[in-house]
Structures are given as structure tokens and as C-alpha cells.
């Protein structure tokens, strides 16, 4: 398999994640889109690490995972708070601030 395939797959995953962010209304799903983007990145990292033949990329993937986990903690907390207040997790409902 050519390396291009891996990179393209990463790009496709990334695009899917981004599209999810743009299209889905539920905050949790939006957030999952972000996670997908991060994981696409991880794929890219490990692919490139293999290509370069060093471990840096793989280590980086772990960093990204950790960060993603941290984001989840904070993100879910915020989303949950909003959900408790508004009884809705739709990102389209939070638009008091505009203009």
C-alpha cells in the first residue's frame, strides 16, 4: 500500500469530522466530530512516523489523545451545564449572542 492511501484516509476522516461539526446540531455530536478530526490527525501522525522511521509521530499521537481527553472533560461539563439549564443540547438553540 502506498503511503498516499494512509494520508488520504486521514484527510477523509478529517473532512468527515469537520463536516460533522458543520452539519450536526447536537452539541455532543459536534464534539464527536472534533474528536474524529483529532483521530484523523493521529492517523496522519503515525503514518508519517512510519514513513520517517522515527517514533516522534507515534508519541505525538499519545499527546493528542491526552489532550482530547482533557477537552472531553471540560467540554462535556459545559455541554451538560447548558443542557441542564435549557433542556436542550442543540447548538442552534444557544444564539442569544449575535450581531
Amino acid at each position: 500500500m502506498d503511503i498516499t492511501n494512509y494520508v488520504v484516509l486521514a484527510a477523509v476522516l478529517f473532512a468527515i469530522g469537520a463536516t460533522t461539526v458543520l452539519l450536526r446540531r447536537n452539541a455532543i455530536v459536534v464534539f464527536m466530530g472534533v474528536e474524529l478530526m483529532l483521530n484523523a490527525t493521529n492517523l496522519a501522525f503515525v503514518t508519517f512516523a512510519r514513513m520517517h522511521g522515527d517514533l516522534t509521530g507515534q508519541v505525538l499521537a499519545f499527546f493528542v489523545m491526552v489532550v482530547a481527553a482533557a477537552e472531553v472533560v471540560v467540554g462535556l461539563a459545559i455541554i451538560v451545564t447548558i443542557f441542564r439549564t435549557r433542556r436542550s443540547a442543540s447548538v442552534d438553540d444557544v444564539n442569544l449572542l449575535k450581531g
Binding site: 461539526v21 446540531r25 442552534d92 449572542l97 449575535k98 450581531g99
Partner: protein, 644 residues
């Protein structure tokens, strides 16, 4: 001469100090202010006499003296001294101004007796004398301009002297403004002339600018341009066509003012300017022709208007305009005419001042009535006025040996002198001059007999005319004597012409197209005919108290040949229209144009803020789209980069 020239600044100084004291002193000087004014003028007159006698005692070629006071304006390559030029021409004026001026000051003490603002009046009069003397004594166009506008200011202040507290206050004020503004139109000419002169000669003093070096190297076009610009100035100041409209309205001022400023002195400043700038005019025949034309037109214009006016002062004002037309005509004739222009100016100064003061005396007696149709038969009640005005009447008609004869006849003769290559000129202008004399005879006779003659007074009720105080009639006597004798004294043997020769240059003697005795005879004949016609109409026939409708010409003349309507239509309405356009344009185009900028920003702001929808997903879309857009822009601007 040089030993007394140091006195010359006092000619201006005395009245100037007088004006300053009276203006700054305020009410404290009310009690004696008028006498201070008289004294200032008289002191100036005394200095004038001293200088005059010294000048007479000086050889003709040394009579022109320049006196430097201080460097006035020195910047760039322009140097103008504040200096005095005393020569026979300015001396003539100085004598006229101080002598007539002092008489009128004295007259005014009585005439303005009951006016609470008499002090202010004298302050203005003194200011006028100072400015007028500055005008004639200046040794440069720039300083002349100071006097030029100074007299304009004094004229403005005096025309509008009664600008509050009277029913006619507003009209007086408007008349004053009109005079000043029309003078300013003329002043544009003087400014332009100075600019041209400076561009050509690099100097504005008479000594340099009018020297052979300067005028001799002047191109025809430059000389013509300067000449015409100066003429414009003269037209404004001397109420010559087409800037004549202010003079009639200027009669709103107190009568002594009309006598001094709007008859004897200020209005003749234009003639002075022409004569002073003779060197330039001689280099520009076209300009000269225009000067003559203006003179001729104004001469007839004033004369025609004078025939129809029932207001004694306005009739006299029209007459003044017409007489200055004579002078202007003469001034355009070259050296042959200069002397007579100034001579007529001098004699006119006496007889017209006398006539105006006489009119003032009549008005004083008739309770400020100016309508001649309500006079009549006054000779019995105002004998001194009658006699002195009679002398003035004879003088202006040009009946020998009264003074007007000597000067006006000279002008008529000069007008008949042929000009090379333009034979029509002598005939046309000569005829106009003679015709003018005839009309003059008509309207002055009309004025004289409507006032003093007639079998039946047409007075309004409760009139008890009587002579005023001696302060009023003594000046009349002096002026009457002058009107009678001045021409004889100065005219016989060409004394006056010779006197002015150092300034005007010697005129080659040319023969008029008609023999001189023929001209004199013809003139006298038409004058007598005109006078007889007027006598028949206004002394023999009854004068109606209400003006009859009159012919088309009469009605036109009554309305000053529609000069105000013409100005209104040709200048003021378009001018106002233009101003409206500018005003609306400033508000709706310029100002609004600038306010479009903030409005546009606000509009865009209002549009763009809609992009800030409040939806997270649209923000994210914006970011993603932004990435793509930037990538595309990079691609478009730089191309797909790199080493590929």
C-alpha cells in the same frame, strides 16, 4: 519747497487726530466736538495755504516733491514707502478739499445743530478729509488705495449716518452699503491694476511705475489692461457708467455730506486717478477711447436723469454724475484734456458744493422737504440762498464769465480736437459734449426755477421758510463767490493749465474740427435754448404738485433709466441664484457627500453584522470557508507554490 514739505503730513494728521479724538472720546466730547472738527479741518487748510504759497514761489520744474515718511511695506521684491507726493495736481486737490471742506464743516455746525450725534458726524467728516488728502497726496498706488477706500469708508459712514431711529433708517443703511459695495467693485480694478503694474514694473510708487522706463517698455496689451482696470476703479468711485447706481441713493446722507463727498471731492477721485495715470493711458489708445466713451455715456445719462428728478438732491446728484462725465471724457483725451478735466473738477467742486449747500439751506428752511414740486417762490424768503445758488446755476450752465464756462468750454473744445485715423471721434464726442451742455442747462434751470421761481408756492402746510444762521450762509457766500470768479481768475491766459503742466505734461496745441468761436457760440446758443425751454416749462407754466405721468423717456429717467432694475436683473438676481446654488450645493452635495462616508460604513456594518448569526455552526462554517478562501487566494495570487 523742501523746507516746508515737512508740514505736509499734518495735512492728513490734523483731521486724522481730530477724528480719533472724537471717536474715542465718546460722549465726553459732545459739547465741543464739532468745533474741534472744524479746527482740525481749518488747521489742515492753513497748512495747505502755507504749502500753496511756497509752491507758487517755487520754479515750476521744482514743484513736484516726494516726501518719505517711513518704509511702509517691504517684502519680497516690493518696496512701498509711506510717502507724500506734493505737486501742482495734488496741491490743487488739497486746496479744494481743505477749503471747501472747511466751509462745509462750518456749515455743518449749524446744519447738524439739533442732531444728538453731531460729534460723530464731525468725526466722520474729519476722517473723510484725512482719507481724501491721503488719496491725493499718496506717492504710490498702494497708499492711494488706502485713501481711496478710506473715503469710501467715510462715505459709507456718512451716507448711513442716520441708520437707526428714523423711519428711513434701513434705506439709509442700504444706500450706504450699496455705495460701499459698488465702490468695491471698482476697487477690484485698482487691485488688478496694481497686480499688473507690479508684474510689469515691480513697483507701485508713481515715481517708478509711471516713469518712462516702466511705461515705455509696457506692451500695448498690458497698458490697455492696466488702463481699463484703472478705469473700472474710477467708474466705481466717480459713479460713472456702469457703476453709477449708488450715487443717487447716496443722497440719503446729510446734505453737507452730499456737498463735500458726493459732489465736490470724493466722487472726483476717479478723474484724479485717470489724470494721475495719464502716462499709462497715453500708452493705451484703446483704453483712452473707452474712458472717453464712459465719460460721454455718463454725461448724457446723468443729464437725462437729472431732467426728470423732482428730488432736489437727486437732481443735483444726477448733475454731478453728468459733470464728472465731462471730466472723465476730458481725462480720456490725453494731455489736451487733463488740465481741463482738473479745472472743471475744481470749478465744479465750488459751484456744485454751493448748489448742494444751497439745497441744504432750502431743505433746512422747508423742514427737510426735498421734493421740488413742493417748493416754489422761495427767492423772497431765502435771498442769500437764492443769489448764491443763482451764481452756481450760471456757473454750471457755462455762461461767461462764470467759472463753469472756462472749464467746460475747454472740455468741449478739446472734445472737438480730431484724433488721427478716427475722424468720427471729434464729431461724435464734440456733439455729445455740446448736447450735454444743452441738457444741463435745461435741468439746472428747471431745478432753479422750480425751487425759487414760480408765481405760487406749492408748500406743504405750516412752512415758514427763513435763512439759517450765519454759519450756514457764510459758506454759501464764499462758494458763490468762488463759483462766480474762480474760472475767471484761473482761466484767463491759461493760468491753470500752465500750473498743472509739470504734472500733465505740455499739450501740443491742436485745432478743433470747428473753429473755436463757432464752438463757443454754438454751445452758448444751445445752452440758452435749453434754459429758455426749462424757464418756459417751470417758471412760466404752473408746476403741478403731483408729478405728471410723463413720457416714456421721463418715466425712464425718473427711474434712473432703469439702472437698478438692470443691476437687479443682470447682476443681483443671477448672483443670488448662484449663491443659492452654492448654498444648496454645499448642504446637499458637499456636506451630505461627506456624511455619506459614515453612513456607508454604518450600512456595511449593518449588513456584515448579519453574518454574526449567533449560530456556532455558521461560525465554524465561516472558519472552514475561510481556510478554503485563503487557500484559493494564495493560489490565485502566488500560484501553487514551491519548488514543484
Amino acid at each position: 519747497m523742501n523746507e516746508v514739505i515737512g508740514l505736509a503730513p499734518w495735512l492728513v494728521g490734523f483731521p486724522l487726530i481730530g477724528a480719533a479724538i472724537l471717536l474715542l472720546g465718546g460722549r465726553a466730547t459732545d459739547r465741543w466736538g464739532h468745533w474741534l472738527g472744524v479746527a482740525a479741518s481749518a488747521a489742515s487748510g492753513a497748512v495747505a495755504f502755507i504749502l500753496m504759497f511756497r509752491m507758487i514761489g517755487t520754479p515750476a520744474e521744482d514743484r513736484s516733491v516726494d516726501h518719505h515718511l517711513w518704509t511702509w511695506l517691504s517684502a519680497g521684491n516690493l518696496d512701498v514707502d509711506l510717502g507724500i507726493r506734493l505737486d501742482p495736481l495734488s496741491m490743487t486737490f488739497v486746496m479744494l478739499v481743505t477749503f471747501v471742506g472747511t466751509l462745509i464743516h462750518i456749515y455743518s455746525v449749524a446744519y447738524m445743530d439739533h442732531d444728538p450725534d453731531r460729534r460723530r458726524f464731525f468725526a466722520y467728516l474729519n476722517l473723510f478729509v484725512a482719507a481724501m488728502l491721503t488719496l491725493v497726496l499718496a506717492n504710490s498706488y498702494l497708499l492711494l488705495f488706502v485713501g481711496w477706500e478710506g473715503v469710501g469708508l467715510a462715505s459709507y459712514l456718512l451716507i448711513g449716518f442716520w441708520d437707526t431711529g428714523r423711519p428711513s433708517a434701513r434705506e439709509n443703511a442700504v444706500a450706504a452699503k450699496k455705495a460701499f459695495v459698488m465702490n468695491r467693485i471698482g476697487d477690484m480694478g485698482l487691485i488688478a491694476a496694481m497686480a499688473l503694474l507690479f508684474a510689469h514694473a515691480g513697483a507701485l510708487d508713481f515715481g517708478t511705475a509711471l516713469s518712462e522706463d516702466s511705461v515705455g517698455t509696457m506692451s500695448q496689451a498690458t497698458a490697455t489692461a492696466i488702463g481699463l482696470c484703472l478705469l473700472l476703479a474710477a467708474c466705481g468711485k466717480s459713479a460713472q457708467f456702469p457703476l453709477q447706481a449708488w450715487l443717487g441713493d447716496a443722497m440719503a446722507g446729510p446734505t453737507p455730506v452730499s456737498a463735500l463727498i458726493h459732489a465736490a471731492t470724493m466722487v472726483t477721485a476717479g478723474v484724479y486717478l485717470m489724470v494721475r495715470s495719464g502716462a499709462i493711458l497715453e500708452a493705451a489708445p484703446t483704453a483712452q477711447l473707452v474712458v472717453v466713451l464712459v465719460g460721454a455715456v455718463t454725461l448724457l445719462f446723468g443729464a437725462i436723469v437729472g431732467c426728470a428728478k423732482d428730488d432736489i438732491k437727486k437732481a443735483l446728484a444726477a448733475s454731478t454724475m453728468s459733470q464728472i462725465g465731462y471730466m472723465m471724457l476730458a481725462a480720456g483725451l490725453g494731455p489736451a484734456g487733463y488740465a481741463f478735466a482738473i479745472f472743471h473738477l475744481l470749478t465744479h467742486g465750488f459751484f456744485k458744493a454751493g448748489l448742494f449747500l444751497g439745497a441744504g439751506s432750502v431743505m433746512h428752511a422747508m423742514g427737510d422737504q426735498t421734493d421740488m414740486r413742493r417748493f416754489g417762490g422761495l427767492s423772497r424768503f431765502l435771498p442769500i440762498t437764492w443769489i448764491t445758488m443763482g451764481l452756481g446755476w450760471l456757473a454750471i450752465l457755462g455762461i461767461p464769465p462764470f467759472s463753469g464756462f472756462w472749464s467746460k468750454d475747454g472740455i468741449i473744445e478739446a472734445a472737438f480736437i480730431p484724433v488721427e485715423g478716427q475722424p468720427w471721434r471729434a464729431w461724435v464726442f464734440g456733439t455729445v459734449a455740446v448736447l450735454g451742455a444743452a441738457i444741463t442747462a435745461f435741468y439746472m434751470t428747471r431745478l432753479f426755477f422750480m425751487t425759487f421761481g414760480g408765481r405760487r408756492p406749492r408748500w406743504t402746510e405750516n412752512q415758514h421758510p427763513h435763512e439759517g444762521s450765519p454759519l450756514m450762509w457764510w459758506p454759501l457766500v464764499f462758494l458763490g463767490v468762488g463759483s462766480a470768479a474762480l474760472g475767471l481768475v484761473l482761466g484767463i491766459g491759461g493760468t491753470f493749465t500752465t500750473w498743472l503742466e509739470p504734472v500733465t505734461g505740455h499739450a501740443e496745441h491742436h485745432e478743433p474740427v470747428l473753429p473755436v468761436p463757432v464752438i463757443i457760440t454754438a454751445t452758448l446758443v444751445v445752452v440758452v435754448l435749453g434754459a429758455l425751454l426749462a424757464f418756459r416749462m417751470y417758471a412760466v407754466n404752473l408746476v403741478p404738485e403731483e408729478a405728471p405721468r410723463g413720457s416714456v423717456l421721463t418715466r425712464a429717467a425718473r427711474k434712473d433709466l432703469y439702472q437698478d432694475a438692470a443691476n437687479e436683473t443682470l447682476v443681483m438676481k443671477p448672483g443670488y441664484g448662484l449663491a443659492r446654488v452654492v448654498q444648496v450645493g454645499d448642504r446637499d452635495v458637499v456636506d451630505r457627500g461627506w456624511s455619506v462616508l459614515p453612513q456607508a460604513v454604518s450600512w456595511f456594518g449593518g449588513v456584515f453584522r448579519k453574518a454574526q448569526t449567533g449560530y456556532v455552526r455558521s461560525y465554524a462554517a465561516g472558519m472552514a470557508g475561510g481556510v478554503l478562501v485563503i487557500a484559493v487566494v494564495v493560489w490565485l495570487v502566488v500560484g501553487l507554490g514551491g519548488a514543484q
